[in-house]
C-alpha cells in the first residue's frame, strides 16, 4: 500500500509487449463470459439464440466506443469524467443540424467530430499546460457542457435523415453495422498502441511521466492528443446514438462518466496508467453487456444487477491487486 508503484521506470517496453498479449486477467474474463453464457442459457431459453446475441451486439456499441476512449486516457495516467456532459452536447449539436440530405449530413458529421476533438483538446490543454488534476478538469468541463447542452435544448430535439437511421439499424448477415464498426475501431486502436510513436509515448507517460520527459517524450503534446482522441471518439458515439434514437437527447450521456470506467478496470488496465490495453476492455464490455442481458431475460430486477456489478468491480480489482503484489 505504501509503495504502490512497484514497476521500475525502465520496464515500459515490457509493458508494451504485455499490452497486446493475453494476460491471466483476460482468461479470467473469458471464463466468466462462458459462465454467464451457461447461466443465461439455463435461466432463459431466449438467451442463447442468434437474435439475442445480435441484439447484445447492438446494445454495446455506444458503451464500447466510450470505454475505448477511457482506456486511452487511463493508459496515459489520466481520467476523463467529461462524457456525461460531452455526449449530451454533441448529441443535441449533431441533431440540431436537422440533416435531411447527404450534403448537410456530411457537414454535421464534420462539425460534430471537430467540436468533440476541440472540447477534448481543451481538457487536455488545461491538464497538460496548467497542470490541474484531470479529475477536476473533466469534472468541471462536464458540468459546463451539461449546462450548455441543456441551454441548447432542454428537451430531446432535432432530427437526422431517415437513411442515416437506416444505416444505424442496418445489419450485415445479422451482425449490426455498429458492432462491425466497433470491432474495426478496436483493432485499429490496438495497432496504434502497438506500432505508433503515439502509442509508445502513451504507455511511457502513464508509467512514469518524469522518466518519459527525460527520455525526450513530448509529454504535454501527447496528453493534449489523447484527450482530443477521447473527444473524437465521444463524437462517434454521439453520432451513433442520434442515429439510433432519431433525436438528440441532452441527457444522453448521463451515467457514462462512471460507467465508462468499469469495463476499463475490469479489463485489467491499471487506474494509475501505463499498464493494460484495449483487449481487456473489449472482453470486459462483452462480459458486462452479456451479464446485463442475461439478468434482464431472467427477470432479475436492475436493483440486484447493481449489487452484482459492484461486487464484480471489487472482485476484479482484488484479483489485480493480488497480481501486482507478486
Amino acid at each position: 500500500m505504501i509503495n504502490t508503484n512497484q514497476q521500475s521506470s525502465s520496464a515500459w517496453l515490457g509493458n508494451l509487449a504485455r499490452a497486446v498479449r493475453f494476460e491471466t486477467m483476460h482468461w479470467v474474463i473469458i471464463g466468466l463470459i462462458f459462465a454467464v453464457f451457461a447461466l443465461g442459457s439455463f435461466g432463459s431459453e431466449r438467451f442463447a439464440t442468434l437474435t439475442n446475441i445480435f441484439n447484445v451486439q447492438d446494445q454495446l456499441v455506444a458503451l464500447a466506443i466510450i470505454a475505448l476512449a477511457q482506456t486511452l486516457v487511463i493508459l496515459s495516467g489520466g481520467i476523463d469524467l467529461s462524457f456525461a456532459g460531452l455526449l449530451g452536447l454533441l448529441c443535441v449539436f449533431f441533431a440540431g443540424f436537422n440533416a435531411q440530405d447527404g450534403e448537410t449530413l456530411a457537414l454535421a458529421f464534420a462539425a460534430t467530430l471537430a467540436l468533440g476533438a476541440f472540447l477534448g483538446a481543451i481538457n487536455g490543454a488545461i491538464t497538460a499546460f496548467i497542470g490541474v488534476h484531470p479529475f477536476i478538469v473533466t469534472l468541471g468541463t462536464s458540468t459546463i457542457l451539461t449546462g450548455l447542452a441543456l441551454l441548447h435544448s432542454s428537451q430531446p430535439g432535432g432530427s437526422v435523415a431517415l437513411f442515416f437511421e437506416d444505416v444505424a439499424y442496418a445489419r450485415l448477415g445479422g451482425v449490426p453495422y455498429g458492432f462491425i464498426f466497433v470491432v474495426l475501431l478496436y483493432i485499429f486502436t490496438a495497432f496504434m498502441l502497438w506500432r505508433s510513436n503515439f502509442g509508445i509515448r502513451l504507455y511511457a507517460i502513464g508509467n512514469n511521466e518524469a522518466a518519459a520527459k527525460v527520455s525526450g517524450v513530448p509529454v504535454k503534446q501527447t496528453k493534449v492528443l489523447v484527450y482530443m482522441l477521447s473527444g473524437l471518439l465521444a463524437s462517434l458515439a454521439a453520432i451513433y446514438m442520434v442515429g439510433r434514437f432519431g433525436v438528440g437527447d441532452p441527457r444522453a450521456g448521463v451515467g457514462f462518466d462512471l460507467r465508462s470506467i468499469t469495463p476499463v478496470i475490469v479489463g485489467g488496465t491499471l487506474l494509475a496508467g501505463g499498464f493494460g490495453g484495449v483487449l481487456g476492455t473489449a472482453l470486459a464490455v462483452i462480459l458486462l453487456s452479456l451479464l446485463a442481458n442475461a439478468l434482464n431475460l431472467m427477470n432479475v430486477s436492475s436493483f440486484y444487477q447493481w449489487i452484482i456489478e459492484g461486487v464484480i468491480i471489487i472482485c476484479a480489482v482484488s484479483v489485480l491487486v493480488g497480481r501486482s503484489k507478486k
Binding site: 505504501i2 451539461t146 450548455l148 441551454l151 478496470i265 436493483f303 447493481w306 459492484g310 471489487i314 480489482v317
Partner: protein, 323 residues
Amino acid sequence: MKALLNNSLLPMMRTQTVAGSQRRELILLSLFLVLIWGVTAMLSPRFLSIDNLTDILVQAAPLGFVVLGQMLVIVVRGLDLSVASIMATAAVLSIGANDSTISIVLLALAVGAIVGGVNGYLVAYRGVTPFLATLATMIVLQGIRFAYTKGAPGGSLPETFRWMATGSIGGIPVSLIVLAVVAVGIYWLLMRTKFGYQLRLFGDNPQSAYMTGAPVRKIQVIVFVLSGVLAALAGLFLVGYVGIVDNWTGQGYELDSIAAAVIGGAALRGGKGSVAGVLLATLILVSLFNIVVILGLSVEFQLVIKGLLIVLAAAVYLSKSRD
C-alpha cells in the same frame, strides 16, 4: 536515522508555509463570496434579506457535513464517491425500519460507519484505489437500497427531523448549530491532536508517516468511517429539509463535495485541507444556486458557472502552490 529525521521534520516545516498560503486562500474565497453576494444584492434587493440568507445557510448544511468528511478523505490521498449513496441508503433503511427518532439516528450512523469501514478496509488493507473501492460500494448500496424498498421507500418521517433541518433555537437554525459543533470537532481533530498530525503527515508523505510508526492503515480506515458517518448525518438532515424520503436523496453530492473540497483548498495529491476553506466553498456553491433562482436565470446557467468555478479555482491554487 538522519534521513528519517529529515523526512519527518519536512512536513512540519511545510505546514508553516502552508498556513500562510491557506490564509491567502481564505481571504480570496471570502472576497469572492462577498463579490457574488454584492453583485446579486445590487441586481435584486430581495437577496440580502435575513430570511433569504438564513435559507442559504440552512440549505448549505447537509453539503457542509459531506464536504468535511470528503476533505478528510482527500487529505489522506483518497476520494469518496460513495457519500451520496450512503446519504440515501442510511436515510431510507433507518426510516423504513422504525419510527423512533433515536433509533433512526443510531441506525443511520451505523450504516454510514459500516460502509465507511468497508471502504477503508478495501483501500488500506486490500490496496484497492479509493476511486474504485468507493465506486463499487456506491453501486452496491444503490442496489441494496432499491432491493430493500422495491423502488418506493416507505416509513414515515418523524416531525423531529423536520425540526432538526428547518427549526431554530433562539433564532439560530438547529442544522447550523450541529454543523458548527461538527466543524469545530473536525478542526480540533485535524489540527490539535496527534491523530490529526499523523493524518496530515500520511497525506503529505506516506513513506515517512510509515517510518515514524504512525498506524497508517488504521488512520485510513478511521477517515473513511468518519466520512461515512458524516454522509449518513447529512442524509438525515437533507431528508428532514426536503420532507420526503427518496431513493435518490443526495444525488450529485459526491461530485459537489469533491468540487467544494478542492475549491476550498484541499489538494487531490493529499496532505492539504482546511475546515474553514471547504465550508466557505460550500457556501459559495450553494449561494450560486440561490442566486441563479433569485435572478430568474435558467437553472442551466448554474451548471456552467459552477463548472467554470471548479476549473478556475483549481488552476488558481495550482499556480500559487508553485511559488
